[in-house]
């Protein structure tokens, strides 16, 4: 059992026993060695199931939306990306800081369980990478917000955030359109990208509405692309680049190509900005606040 797992269980038990929190959000081993699934534990027996290993890739912060109406105090484990997601959740008033006890994890990068599942089942001959694709260019492996912390501080990866976007931009307009339509013809509208997203925390989602129905629900390439255009616009300036949408996509659509493009646009129009780094007033996303000197070209 790894050092972090032992410590995580001790911390969880202590917090539950002394009544600091009513529940702990962490990970437990799933049905495969390469699966560490999100877990909600409320007692010692539960705390003994918790693990912190190299497969804890799920972003736990998105689960906080399930507890927005309760008043329970929650302890939550947070990697670098999860911590940024938690900051966003607090800024979006999903939850208050005083209801959270954040156990930070300095994250060395996680492994992608999907890659292991594909390799094991023989669907893919590729050897699973040491680090998930989304972790390779991680800029904030160390939590920006926490009450206590596990592990040694880590170095950020190489900054290649916009490399893929630039590749797309070098293509012609028709090539770009054909590329995206081809990618989105694979979409099955499972909405996993929305459900895994920490920025998608609206109580009522526009895509669940039927009166009026804003976006067609059939799975044709155009409606699929329109769905993602709307979703990307809605999370613009609030996306923390955790890459969960892309990771959970069963069709393997490169969704971060869209998110990163809008991040680039927000940087260009409002000045460099990265979401979820701080709870300060001046760290509110540029599209969530008003300033007199905001550019006119926001749409």
């Amino acid at each position: 059992m790894s050092d972090n797992t032992t410590k995580a269980r001790e911390i969880a038990k202590k917090l539950l026993q002394d009544g600091t929190v009513a529940m702990v959000l962490g990970w437990e081993k799933g049905d495969q060695p390469y699966v560490s699934a999100p877990a909600v534990v409320r007692d010692d027996a539960g705390a003994d199931r918790l693990v912190v290993d190299e497969f804890c890739i799920h972003d736990l912060a998105a689960l906080l939306t399930d507890y927005r109406d309760s008043s329970d105090k929650i302890a939550i484990f947070a990697k670098g990306c999860d911590a940024r997601a938690i900051v966003r959740m607090i800024q979006d008033r999903v939850i208050t800081r005083d209801r959270l006890y954040i156990i930070g994890i300095n994250c060395p990068g996680m492994k992608d369980p999907n890659e292991y599942a594909r390799a094991e089942s023989g669907l893919s001959k590729a050897k699973p990478a040491d680090k998930a694709a989304k972790c390779q260019s991680c800029q904030y492996p160390n939590p920006v917000i926490y009450d206590e912390i596990l592990g040694e501080a880590q170095q950020p990866g190489a900054d290649q955030r916009f490399a893929e976007v630039e590749k797309i931009e070098s293509m012609s307009a028709d090539e770009r359109y054909d590329f995206f339509i081809k990618e989105f013809s694979k979409c099955i509208r499972c909405y996993a990208c929305r459900n895994a997203c920490a920025a998608c925390n609206c109580r009522t989602c526009i895509f669940d509405e039927t009166k009026p129905q804003w976006v067609g629900r059939s799975t044709d390439p155009v409606n699929n692309l329109l769905y993602q255009i709307v979703r990307t616009m809605h999370v613009a300036g609030r996306c923390i680049e955790c890459g969960e949408c892309e990771r959970v996509c069963p069709a393997g659509i490169p969704l971060m190509l869209l998110n990163r493009k809008l991040i680039q646009d927000v940087d260009r129009l409002f000045g460099p900005y990265q979401a979820g780094l701080s709870l300060d007033d001046d760290a509110i996303p540029p599209l969530s606040r008003y300033r007199v000197d905001d550019p006119d070209e926001f749409m």
């Binding site: 976007v165 797309i168 931009e169 307009a173 028709d174 090539e175 770009r176 359109y177 054909d178 590329f179 995206f180 339509i181 067609g216 044709d220 390439p221 155009v222 409606n223 692309l225 329109l226 255009i229 990307t232 616009m233 869209l258 493009k261 809008l262 646009d265 006119d296 070209e297 749409m299």
Partner: protein
């Protein structure tokens, strides 16, 4: 939004945004003429249509 649509391969001429007050009739007319002229230049839209094959 315009830059985003352009990124997706949509002609930027098709999406134009302007602030026009209720009292700016002439400005409205000018901008509409401009929009129509620009869209005629790029021709009929073939992208993001429901009947996409």
């Amino acid at each position: 939004m315009k830059s985003f649509l352009q990124y997706l391969g949509i002609e930027p001429e098709r999406y134009q945004l302007a602030w026009i007050s209720g009292s700016e009739g002439q400005k409205f007319a000018d901008i509409m003429t401009h929009v129509v002229a620009e869209v005629k230049k790029v021709g009929p839209n073939r992208k993001l249509r429901e009947e996409h094959e």
